[in-house]
């Protein structure tokens, strides 16, 4: 029972950090350009597909795979910005940009369907057991853990810390934040808002796509991967809207709730997550870590 519980906790944390990556991307975009990105899950899925191509189809060695994939993710982010944000930045109607991201979501899904086909693809795990060809199992004190989950936690945790440091501590991150808070004033003091917004988009896509690559061996790669963004939404709201730290902790909570829910109500685990979301919203609408601020849509 205890072993089982620890196993579930690790699974939950692993999914939690992945949701946290998606959620961080959402928050960064909301803060930078005030856009709720409904195509985030599709970018996530695209990341998984692209890395599949690099690893399985082209068979790049790892030292080449890392830069190649990062560059391609950044390019995807740049294209995404050029299409859904740039032409709409002067739009008088804030919902227009949100709808445009929904449209972009359709395009990305269809593109993936056309390029990689309707069949779900299976990605080899990072650490492979040479005998079975599947992911290696780590055994500590009689507790069996899948290596992939451990790797997900490690890689995503490092990424989260890096992004957090970038935005809260480094000068470049402060520039991005300044642009996010007041574009006009930031331009007055000489911050090129075009560059910082583009950098934000690229960074977000990179982070999200890496998340997609990490979970790909756990699930199969298919269009359903994009539905994970809804859990990230839940994490964002539970943690406190507009708050990086809150989004990370909220996403971890969502991952854990989901994992523990499988113990009791495995077919209703989705429902459990969102019921928790609604309860949190009703009793603490600003989220667990949010400050009480006026709504800014």
């Amino acid at each position: 029972m205890l072993n089982n519980l620890i196993g579930l906790t690790v699974n939950g944390l692993a999914m939690g950090v992945v949701y946290a990556l998606i959620a961080m991307g959402l928050i960064l975009l909301v803060r930078a350009v005030g856009v709720m990105n409904f195509a985030q899950g599709d970018l996530f899925m695209l990341g998984a597909y692209l890395s599949f191509t690099f690893i399985v189809n082209i068979k790049l060695p790892y030292w080449l795979f890392v830069p190649a994939s990062l560059i391609s993710f950044a390019i995807v982010g740049l294209i995404f910005m050029a299409v859904t944000y740039w032409p709409l930045r002067e739009a008088s109607y804030p919902q227009a940009v949100i709808i445009a991201t929904m449209g972009a979501g359709y395009v990305i899904k269809e593109l993936a369907y056309k390029i990689w086909g309707p069949v779900a693809l299976s990605m080899p795990a990072l650490v492979i057991n040479p005998e079975t060809g599947t992911t290696k199992v780590l055994e500590i004190f009689g507790i069996k853990l899948q290596w992939q989950y451990v790797m997900i936690i490690a890689v995503c945790a490092v990424l989260i810390v890096l992004v957090f440091m970038l935005f809260e501590k480094l000068y470049a991150g402060r520039m991005m934040q300044a642009t996010a808070q007041d574009k006009y004033a930031a331009e007055l003091i000489g911050i090129p808002s075009v560059v910082t917004i583009a950098a934000t988009y690229m960074l977000v896509t990179m982070v999200v796509s890496i998340g997609g690559y990490m979970v790909a061996p756990v699930f199969f790669i298919s269009a359903t991967l994009s539905s994970l963004q809804l859990r990230a939404f839940a994490g964002v709201v539970i943690g406190g809207f507009g708050n990086l730290k809150g989004a990370i902790i909220g996403s971890l909570i969502v991952g854990l709730i989901e994992a523990y829910a499988t113990l009791q109500w495995s077919s209703y685990k989705d429902a459990v997550v969102f019921i928790v979301l609604i309860i949190v919203l009703i009793f603490r609408p600003q989220g667990l870590f949010g400050e009480k601020i006026a709504d800014k849509a």
Binding site: M36, F38, V83, T84, P87, L88, A91, S92, Y93, Q95, A96, V97, I99, A100, M102, G103, A104, G105, Y106, V107, I108, K109, E110, L111, Y113, K114, S227, L230, F233, A234, V237, F241, S267, Y268, D270, A271, V273, F274, I275, L277, I278, L281, I282, P285, D295, K296, A297
Partner: protein, 344 residues
């Protein structure tokens, strides 16, 4: 002496045009189409009702909601449970069709009382949560919703002895239903409730100072929108004769929002046009079937770039510009004649 003049009933030419076009559409469509094409058209009419319900919440009230799809599910499953006899009893179809909106309105009222305590974006997120929770129950719960298999064997609507034999006959019933819904919404726009809702949308604080109960107004709007969705869901269940959870997913909910946005969210005709466009596009562009979703997505982005207020927005702006030009011309002429008079 009392003044006995009757208030003149003003009918604008635009109203007549819309009426004529709508009548022509309703009468012509079943003549030229049949079978599968008619089914698509019928579904489009049902979508239009849901899009209209979103126009109440988002267009009139300014509250972005995804709940329409869930409320449609409530109405649909209610009808299916009541009429298919799977619970051990079956009520006739017409009372079920009338009870479904009522029941959905009650459900929406209860949910609205809870959810609308949240404001703006938080409310939107709560409705996303609601859609997910409801979908889980729709697809998993066997006793109430039939689980993955859904509920089949829903009887056809019996409208005082008239039972639609094929999709063409269904079309008339659905068109009638849509016209009723559209008229109700146009009526709501003119009532005190509709105006309060618009005041809430434009500025909640200002609405509050005018003595409008912001919270209750929004809750009522949610209930009315729910009733319309319930009506749409009931019609859907009876036409399709089968109902299952994959009609009520979040993705489908997004599609309804896009329909409403595409046509113009605060415009009844616009919403219907948007639904027709999104619903029928796959049918019209059969040749491009393989790339449909692709074109669809690009089309949405382009639309948002070039006409963010939707189709009706473009039309209304053009109309305004035309009127302004005309006015300037008239003023110009008036000033000219005045100048001539002055000379003379």
């Amino acid at each position: 002496m009392k003044n006995f003049t009757i208030k003149k009933l003003k009918i604008r030419p635009a109203t007549i045009i819309v009426f004529v076009v709508a009548m022509a559409f309703i009468l012509l469509m079943p003549q030229v189409n049949s079978g599968y094409k008619m089914l698509c058209l019928n579904l489009t009419l049902i979508y239009a009702m849901v899009a209209l319900s979103i126009s109440i919440m988002l267009g009139m009230g300014g509250q972005m909601t995804f709940a329409g799809v869930t409320m449609m599910g409530v109405g649909g499953y209610f009808t299916a449970n009541m009429t298919s006899g799977r619970l051990g009893f079956a009520i006739p179809t017409l009372p079920a069709l009338l009870l479904a909106p009522l029941f959905t309105a009650l459900v929406a009222l209860a949910l609205g009382l809870v959810l609308l305590r949240l404001r703006g974006t938080y409310f939107t997120f709560a409705t996303i949560g609601l859609v997910q929770v409801a979908w889980s129950f729709y697809s998993m719960n066997k006793p109430a919703f039939g689980g993955y298999d859904g509920i089949s064997g829903v009887p056809k609507l019996d409208l005082f002895g008239f039972v639609p034999a094929d999709y063409n006959q269904w079309f008339y019933i659905l068109a009638g239903g849509l016209v009723i819904v559209a008229l109700i919404i146009e009526r709501i726009r003119k009532t005190q409730f509709g105006r309060s809702l618009a005041a809430v949308r434009d500025n909640e604080t200002a609405a509050l100072t005018l003595g409008i109960n912001v919270y209750i107004t929004k809750v009522y709007a949610f209930a009315v929108a729910g009733a319309i969705c319930g009506f749409a869901g009931a019609l859907y269940a009876m036409m399709n004769r089968y109902i299952s959870a994959d009609t009520f997913t979040f993705d489908v909910g997004v599609r309804y929002i896009i329909m409403a946005m595409l046509g113009g969210v605060n415009n009844t005709i616009g919403c219907i046009l948007g639904a027709v466009l999104i619903g029928m596009l796959p049918e019209w562009l059969r040749v491009l079937q393989g790339y449909m979703q692709f074109i669809y997505g690009i089309g949405i982005i382009l639309l948002m770039i070039f006409m963010p207020m939707g189709l009706s927005g473009v039309f209304l702006t053009a109309l305004k510009r035309y009127r302004k030009k005309k006015k300037i011309k008239l003023e110009h002429r008036a000033s000219q004649t005045a100048a001539e008079k002055g000379e003379a």
